[in-house]
């Protein structure tokens, strides 16, 4: 039912686009069918290559952000003292739009993948850190007492209580920031690279004026965002089943 509703919405959007393209009738808005055809044709080739590069950048930065933010968030959630020291920094850094750091990162990390990965990492890291910390801090003392009484020490609590407890926070963090991450990736790929969907869109839109291909890049980038969102959504349904059944 849900899947059918999403497909229906996609169909309506495509039809609206077709209508708009027919009315405007200019090269800057080609018909969606032409664009879709190019997307399908190009995906196994050049476009697909750029998509894979962008996908790699998002996945690598996501993995790094989760690996760094989860243990730190759990530590801060457990220790009021550590949190007192650390939270003013989080408070100051969290609201900074990380994309403005892009030129700085570019200077430090150069023109390779690292800059792109670092900027997305920063976005996801703070989002996940804050949610994981709050979730870990909100665990009821009764739960911790009970599990400690079963023999759990620090490691046992981490493995059997804190880690599973923060899974919903991780997934919520990813869900909230995956859209921003892909948007920032686009901006990051406009600079000093010849790979990635951002570059592909910019090249075809502003240099070659090949608008159908530019739109194919936009569609690929949208699919990247949507695909990642659906993966996180599916993971949440599978890993957090207890939240849906209560």
């Amino acid at each position: 039912m849900r899947r059918r509703a999403i497909l229906l919405a996609a169909l309506v959007l495509v039809l609206l686009w077709a209508l708009l393209a027919a009315v405007i009738h200019r090269p800057i808005l080609p018909s969606p069918f032409e664009v879709l055809w190019i997307t399908i044709r190009e995906l196994p080739g050049e476009l697909g290559g750029h998509l894979l590069v962008s996908l790699w950048r998002v996945v690598a930065s996501t993995a790094l952000a989760v690996l760094a933010a989860v243990p730190l968030g759990i530590v801060l959630g457990q220790s009021a003292r550590a949190d007192r020291w650390f939270s003013p920094f989080v408070y100051l850094l969290f609201p900074i739009p990380k994309v403005v750091l892009l030129p700085v990162l570019l200077l430090f990390f150069g023109i390779g993948d690292l800059t792109k990965i670092a900027v997305i990492f920063l976005i996801l890291f703070f989002q996940i850190l804050v949610l994981v910390r709050d979730q870990a801090a909100g665990l009821r003392p009764e739960l911790l007492f009970s599990v400690r009484s079963l023999g759990a020490g620090r490691r046992g609590l981490f493995r059997f209580v804190y880690l599973p407890a923060v899974v919903p926070a991780i997934l919520t963090g990813l869900r909230q920031s995956i859209g921003t991450a892909v948007a920032v990736l686009y901006v990051a790929e406009l600079f000093a690279t010849q790979q990635g969907l951002g570059y592909y869109i910019y090249l075809h839109g502003s240099t070659l004026f090949d608008y159908p291909r530019m739109y194919a890049g936009v569609i690929a980038m949208s699919l990247l965002g949507l695909g990642l969102y659906l993966v996180v959504d599916a993971a949440q349904r599978r890993l957090c089943r207890w939240q849906y059944t209560a």
Partner: protein, 257 residues
């Protein structure tokens, strides 16, 4: 089994709860700790569980000074003790998994115990406590009584010799409460457990405690113990001795509060 010697305890920046307090309980006895809210009875239980440490004096369980939770002590709380993200079956497995996780190190798990046949052990407890039909449900999907049964199964699956319970039946309706009180007494007798049950209900203390430790307003300095011969068995409920115990406990509570 339990010895408190010269125990003092207070939470940080709070008035003292216990001052030079000594008390002991023999192995196999069934104790109720009775007192009003805020009297420190739950804190006493946490001290016995090794989850809080005294500021001075000592807690000895089975002759050893307690410095951390002891593998052979089981603890059951009023609520919120189960992992909400784990099924009933997984919750009952938890203690056994922890033992496997640490191995028989003497700190987190008894040194002399090798965990085998976890599935069979879990299955037999599911069956024994009538939890089979809800084995794959999450704690949020089952009744309060079933949640407490799960907590009991999870604790007893680890073969404790001392069972500590903190108001375990307070949030249950009357028939479920009675049912679980009976089950607790039955399991205690069957397994020769030492039981310390904290409650604010006079009737519950009179039913489950062979001896009742009455706590009034803190700080506590001397134990106030009331013997309750016949307590700790389901039949006790229907005897005149039970009514007399209730009356004695009521007047003891009136005196101390």
């Amino acid at each position: 089994m339990i010895q408190l010697r010269g125990l003092s305890f207070a939470y940080r920046n709070q008035p003292s709860l216990f001052e030079d307090y000594s008390w002991q309980a023999a192995q196999g006895e069934s104790w109720a700790v009775l007192g009003p809210s805020g009297c420190g009875k739950s804190s006493l239980l946490y001290l016995l569980a090794g989850l809080q440490l005294p500021s001075s004096g000592e807690v000895r369980i089975g002759g050893e000074v307690l410095r951390r939770p002891r593998p052979r002590t089981g603890l059951i709380l009023q609520d919120f003790g189960l992992l909400p993200w784990a099924t009933v079956r997984a919750n009952i497995r938890l203690g056994l998994r922890l033992r496997g996780f640490y191995g028989p190190d003497g700190r987190h798990a008894p040194r002399d115990e090798v965990i085998k046949n976890i599935d069979e052990r879990v299955d037999s407890w599911l069956q024994r406590l009538g939890l089979d039909p809800v084995a794959e449900s999450y704690p949020g999907q089952i009744s309060g009584g079933q949640r407490q049964r799960t907590a009991i199964a999870r604790t007893l699956a680890l073969h404790p010799d001392l069972l500590l319970m903190d108001e375990p039946f307070a949030s249950l309706d009357a028939p479920t409460r009675q049912d679980l009180q009976d089950l607790t007494m039955q399991l205690r007798q069957e397994r020769g457990l030492t039981l310390v049950l904290v409650t604010h209900a006079i009737e519950e203390a009179a039913l489950l405690g062979q001896r009742v430790l009455v706590l009034g307003r803190p700080p506590h300095r001397e134990p106030n113990v009331i013997d309750n011969p016949g307590g700790g068995t389901p039949d006790h409920r229907a005897t005149p001795a039970y009514d007399r115990a209730c009356a004695r406990l009521r007047s003891a509570m009136e005196q101390v509060t």
